[in-house]
Point group: C2
Chain length 200, copies 2
């Protein structure tokens, strides 16, 4: 399974996935390219250091669909079969999503459907939840909405701040993304509406 | 702490709380009365069997605030300090809520703020979440919205139905309600906006 990872920033989930692939923890997976919409993203350096092709396709000043056409072209000419969003901060156009049907995965730092959108960890902290977590899901045309592959819970501690909570969620994001990719690359699942059925 | 429990049906959470109080698992708590808005509620029998005063204050044909005035009168004349909703199926009026400020507790079978309202377990199942749970919270004037005391997570199994999932959540509801009442009766907490701070 040839994977392309889209990033916009530090790429910590990208690095965790790449290292898991390098260790052989995601059988059948190969990270073929890392693409950033921001040329200065620190994650591009991390990818290159790992021997992965790392390219920038700048978004600035371009409308979403034009930008997405270039992204899709870069991914398809490399034979990408699965697109992983890892802190990619631009919404994908319907054109992009239809180019990879049920083949785009995202991670979100809350237990969806709670706390969609930006700064989900802080939203959860300020709401006063006692349990939050992270969600790996397929991407559809609604924000943070597609079929859920995997979730992990993270308890809020009495002495947490939004920052300490975010750090603990991030650890679970790394583990969750790796586990979810293992499930997807194993291929032993069916998508039934919003529900994903695993196992034979 | 004199507790009044409001029910509408089988009263399984009520029975779990009463049995925990009888075992001494909620120090300082006493269940002084169980009130149902439905005269035929099976929970009334369960309460009476446990030696707890069990009364019906029928809602039928009465507007909410008139009904709530009678409920509040019944609770205050018995010296109730904390009201626990346990499957009570009528929304409380602002009059009721203001009569017991920060002294009304509810349990909801989801990880709020996800899946408010009726049939939360099925809502979660159909959404395809991998983790749901239950929430014990103070009651404010918005549905399933007040400050959260405690949450417990329940993982969705691959072979779950909405019914098997509901049954596992119900077990966690019993444990959660008892634990939350232990926290409240211990008195060692402060409500700060939406957040509850525990500990000294």
């Amino acid at each position: 399974m040839k994977i392309g990872i889209l990033i916009s920033g530090r790429g910590s989930n990208m690095a965790a996935i790449a290292d898991a692939v390098a260790r052989g923890d995601i059988p059948g997976a190969e990270i073929a390219v890392v693409v950033s919409d921001k040329p200065g993203a620190a994650g591009l350096v991390k990818a290159a250091e790992r021997g992965i092709e790392a390219i920038a396709i700048p978004r600035s000043g371009r409308i979403r669909e034009d930008h997405d056409r270039e992204l899709v072209a870069a991914l398809t000419e490399r034979g990408i079969e699965l697109v992983c969003l890892a802190g990619y901060m631009r919404l994908l156009s319907p054109f992009f999503i239809r180019s990879f049907p049920n083949r785009i995965v995202n991670i979100h730092p809350s237990l969806l459907p709670s706390f969609k959108g930006l700064d989900a960890q802080r939203q959860a902290f300020e709401y006063g939840v006692r349990i939050t977590g992270c969600t790996v899901h397929f991407v559809d045309e609604e924000l943070d909405h597609g079929a859920i592959i995997l979730q992990k819970a993270v308890a809020v501690a009495d002495d947490d701040t939004a920052e300490t909570l975010s750090a603990r969620i991030l650890e679970q994001e790394h583990a969750s993304y790796i586990e979810a990719l293992r499930l997807i690359c194993g291929g032993n699942y069916r998508i039934e509406g919003r529900r994903i059925e695993f196992g034979s």
